[in-house]
Amino acid sequence: MFYDLNIPWTSKDDPELPRTAAFLAELGYNVIALNQTIAGKITSKAPGIANTIPENPFPDQPGLRVLRRATVILDDPSQNYGLASLSGSFDIVALRPTDEKLLLQACTSLECDLISLDLSIRHPFHFKYKVLGQAIARGIRFEITYASSINDSSARRNLLANAAALIRATKGKGVIISSEARNAAFCRAPFDVINLATLWGLNQENGNAAITTGPRSVMLQAKMKRQSFRGVIDVVDGGGVPRVSSSRDAVTKATISQKALGKRKADVGDTATDAEESTKESTPIETAVVNEPSHGDAGEARPAKKQKQKAKPAAKKAAAKG
């Protein structure tokens, strides 16, 4: 399963977006997230904010799972972002801090699933493990987006430097890679992306995790936060016995008991009294099998010790059944 958690959402009528989705499916991605960028203050009275992305935007791509993600651009430390109201209507909530203070705030206190720094520009501060480690301890991942680096030479330089710094500061863990491709031409296949990651300083294993298990845990964690009880217990199935399968079980049980009886035929001949007692309460099919005379005779013709030994537990079982 390969994940690309950042495809910018434009509009319903954009012809480029279905093409990008089809291309990602062709490249081998299984899950993509359509990203809606939100700048400025979010008021709690914004119920229609998620509705811009439909539930199933690409009916042509049955193999592609589409998530809905919101990225909030943080640019004012004093502002109160109503992030809690977002998590109800989006699958993933990401933050994009623009300076060091906001990055610290995002890492330590703000409620989110993902921190997506803009790595195509030069940042005037260093990434420190002390800050980033707090976010990783809370289960928040850092995102590296590669599409801008394919398009633009200076963005590529900055990305190389920033990604290397980020990977160094996070010690290779807690990083995910996504595309942020506005055009199908900027997407790359999963293994090509892993190769790029090795260029930035991730090893093959961590690079693989950055595009498979990392995004998956982001997705699942966001889901758990949203719909489970205190982020711990999630009721997947309300219980109850499904009808069809239970009847099937009954059938298989019946056949098994018949078979077991069939195997015991020879033994039944030896311990006739016990068997007869047990058969009194058993079904007509079972009695019919027991009463077959030829098998019983065959059993008596070879009175081996082993068979007798076998017969004892069988008789006990039969008695217990009765």
Binding site: F23, A185, F191
Partner: protein
């Protein structure tokens, strides 16, 4: 004497901006035949240029000694050979390649292999899988199977499907003998 270790990269060229209005089946929208101007030499020149822009003179010195062992414009598939320590550089240069012969492209490395034979078998498998996919789709729509496969190869230099497959086999044989000489 220690043998020189090589890596063979099997790649396919995808055309993300290809118009879907052509007669190609939908599942093949991105796997189009390459234009006639794209040959082994022009491809090598484009890759070398990409190495130069991304990795500079140092990169050319390290990874510039690759060879295009095989390229089929019909299936847009090819095999590159590079010395083992430098295959990631070459791979990254392929990833950063944006256009070939005036078309926007995405190059996907399908397989990295230590022997050319494995890369070849993978290429054949890939082509078979593509044909199977098209046939499956055509069956779902209810069209003639043969026609669909023929349209796949129609774009490459005006040759028919049969001719092109023969070409591919020819090149494969050529390649085998090439390898034995080394």
């Amino acid at each position: 004497m220690v043998r020189v270790k090589q890596r063979y990269l099997l790649f396919t060229i995808l055309y993300p901006a290809a118009s879907s209005a052509t007669s190609l089946p939908q599942s093949m929208a991105f796997c189009q035949p390459s234009p006639a101007s794209l040959t082994r030499t022009t491809l090598a020149a484009a890759i070398r240029a990409s190495i130069l822009t991304n990795f500079g003179d140092w990169g050319i010195g390290q990874a510039g000694s690759f060879a295009v062992k095989y390229f089929s414009p019909a299936t847009s598939t090819g095999i590159l050979r590079i010395t083992r320590p430098h295959y990631r550089t070459l791979w990254a240069a392929l990833t950063f390649l944006r256009d070939l012969a005036g078309h926007p492209v995405v190059i996907k490395v399908v397989r990295v292999s230590g022997t050319i034979r494995k890369a070849e078998t993978e290429a054949v498998k890939l082509a078979e899988e593509t044909i199977r996919r098209v046939k499956r789709e055509q069956r779902a729509i209810g069209k003639n199977k043969g026609a669909a496969v023929a349209t796949l190869f129609a774009g490459a230099g005006g040759d028919g499907g049969q001719k092109q497959t023969e070409d591919i086999i020819d090149v494969d044989i050529e390649m085998d003998s090439d390898d034995d000489e080394e």
